[in-house]
């Protein structure tokens, strides 16, 4: 069912939810926006043509999290319970909501049942906001997502200027949005047109069809060295990525705590072994790992693509490396290399 919510009623609605849920919504934090607890009256950042800088994966999988307490030398362990809290994440973009479903395949599938992830996931509703005008670094339509895709969402809002059209996508969402006016046919049609226009406005960043095979075939080629020559090997593209999930376990002995921290394949020390051998010794192997993981290995371990086209890695790379161009160059390299053979 599709409903209409006048914009001036939004704050009151979020306030009503706050009685039962912790409500998180994008708000200004310095020069950028971030998911912060909603407290009325909050100024929300819903008009920006892009997502928050820090990825909302952190709301389910925090960058640093204590997972175990122990008493040194006493052999005592004390588990830390995941404390579920009823939450609504309001205003998440479709690329980021899809990313949460991709991370389900890591933290909540088969034998991998991460209690912290599961507890937060079960109690959280995701209310999405579509993107009328995707930004210049967005490329969700090239990555099996789109500015109005609904993967992972309980409801999707479309901005119609003075009001939002709300599409309810789960039973739980029906309870949240009681008593709204159904959308009339004209409103439904303008939403359809708007959504189509947004999809079409996004240029194709690369051809996804056959890309995995092409990348697999150039695994050993020089192209990765060329693509990564200026890479700094920092953590930006992976820490800000909504689908990157690598972590490291560290015992903070002085606090008797075992901590799980985000880690990244772009760091040299990530793959450094105790013997001092490093199977990914240079930026070439590390950059290849980042791109291949998202665009090849994800297909193998999850049957899905590991990038949602959110554009964060493009926007914030300090040396301007653009994953779209890197993928285009890697796949073009193949035809050159094959041609030469």
């Amino acid at each position: 069912m599709k409903y209409i919510l006048p914009k001036h009623e939004l704050n009151a609605l979020l306030e009503r939810w706050s009685a039962e849920y912790a409500v998180l919504a994008p708000q200004k934090a310095g020069a950028y926006s971030e998911f912060l607890p909603f407290t009325a009256p909050s100024e929300l950042c819903l008009e920006e043509p892009h997502n928050t800088r820090y990825p909302p994966k952190a709301l389910f999988f925090p960058q640093s999290e204590a997972i175990l307490k122990y008493k040194q030398n006493l052999g005592q362990l004390e588990s830390i319970e995941a404390v579920p809290q009823k939450r609504v994440i309001f205003g998440i973009r479709p690329c980021d909501a899809k990313a949460v479903t991709l991370l389900d395949t890591v933290f909540a599938e088969g034998d991998n049942q991460d209690p912290f992830w599961l507890a937060r996931r079960a109690e959280t509703l995701l209310i999405g906001l579509g993107c009328n005008e995707p930004g210049a670094t967005c490329f969700c339509t090239s990555t099996e997502s789109g500015p109005f895709h609904t993967d992972g969402l309980d409801a999707l809002l479309t901005d119609l200027g003075g009001e939002y059209l709300i599409e309810l996508l789960s039973e739980r969402a029906v309870g949240l949005f009681g008593g709204l006016t159904p959308a009339n046919p004209t409103q439904q049609e303008s939403v359809q047109n708007l959504q189509q226009a947004a999809e079409q406005a996004l240029p194709k960043a690369f051809e996804l069809d056959g890309l995995k095979d092409k990348l697999d075939r150039v695994f050993d080629q020089d192209v990765w060295a060329q693509l990564s020559e200026s890479c700094l090997g920092c953590g930006i593209c992976t820490f800000l990525c909504p689908t990157c999930f690598c972590f490291d376990l560290v015992d903070e002995a002085q606090r008797d705590t075992r901590v799980r921290n985000w880690d990244t394949c772009m760091f040299r020390v990530y793959s450094l072994e105790a013997s001092a051998h490093n199977p990914r010794p240079t930026r070439k192997e590390r950059t290849r790992q980042r791109l291949m993981h998202k665009y090849s290995y994800w297909w193998e371990h999850a049957g899905k693509l590991g990038c949602t086209g959110c554009g964060r890695c493009v926007r914030y790379c300090p040396v301007g490396l653009d994953i779209r161009a890197m993928l285009r160059k890697a796949s073009a390299y193949e035809s050159e290399a094959l041609h030469a053979n």
Partner: protein
Amino acid sequence: MTELEAKIRTEAARLLSEGLVDVVVAFRKEDAPLRPQPAFFTNVEDLENLVYNGLCANNLANYLTRFPQETRIGMLVRGCENRSVNALVVEKQHSREKLTLIGIPCTGIIDWRKVVALTGEDILAYEDSAHTLTVRARHQTFALPRQELLHSSCLRCVHPNPLSADILLGEMLPEGDPALIRERVESFEALTRAERTAYFKQEAERCIRCYACREACPMCYCEECFVDHNTPRWTESGTTPAGTHAWHIIRAFHQTGRCTSCGACERACPMDIQMTYLTDKLGKDMWDSYQFAAGMDDQTQPPFASFTLDDKKHFQVGGKQS
């Protein structure tokens, strides 16, 4: 192509084709709007992709330590980059004879964040000229005064001219006013201890420990950074206050007498964290105590790296007192 770009390409082509250098480190045309990329040019044909404008934001001296000592490097250097190269030569990271510095007097680096703040994120193209940056966004074209867009470190820059370039392209510029950087440090010093602590916490605690500041800094070239060391560990590992405070303080300290105030660390930071107020403070202390500024030549050891057997050791109990 601008006139300056044409000159850079010509010089780079000459250096490569005459076999005087193995590589030219400069900038390449961007893939993402506003973000020209550092690049290593090894053949003349590729130079058609070379660009140079105010959005070339990285300190290229950072790449010096990527190459083996025997590589003959041609490098584009502005004032701060030239000083970073000098500081690296002092630290024996490359021999000066193997370097050909193509110097450009610098009119300041444009901070893309300021451009975005004024125009929105939807930038499709831009053109940089002497006083104006013209930005084309989807619905509108903006002509922005360049001076309002400069990175804060560049607004306080003292030495915009390359000090020891082998080839100089462009007109020399007037030196900057040294009072500006001093005033900034003094205004921080003038805060109460509680205010300084609050400011430090507000900046450091947003840190996500991506280490882009480290990786973008020419002087951070340690094979193993203290923060990655785990036997013993020097800092708490996570993004806790203890972890981020330690990172920010020790990173800054390691720059004492080495930092050239280029601001590359801040430009790289994804969280817009201020950190040059710490390194600039150390720079001022170095000047006040030792009349030393990093990278002004390629011979003088920074005070904390040099020692003599008759060191007065003021700081030691029983050290000589004058």
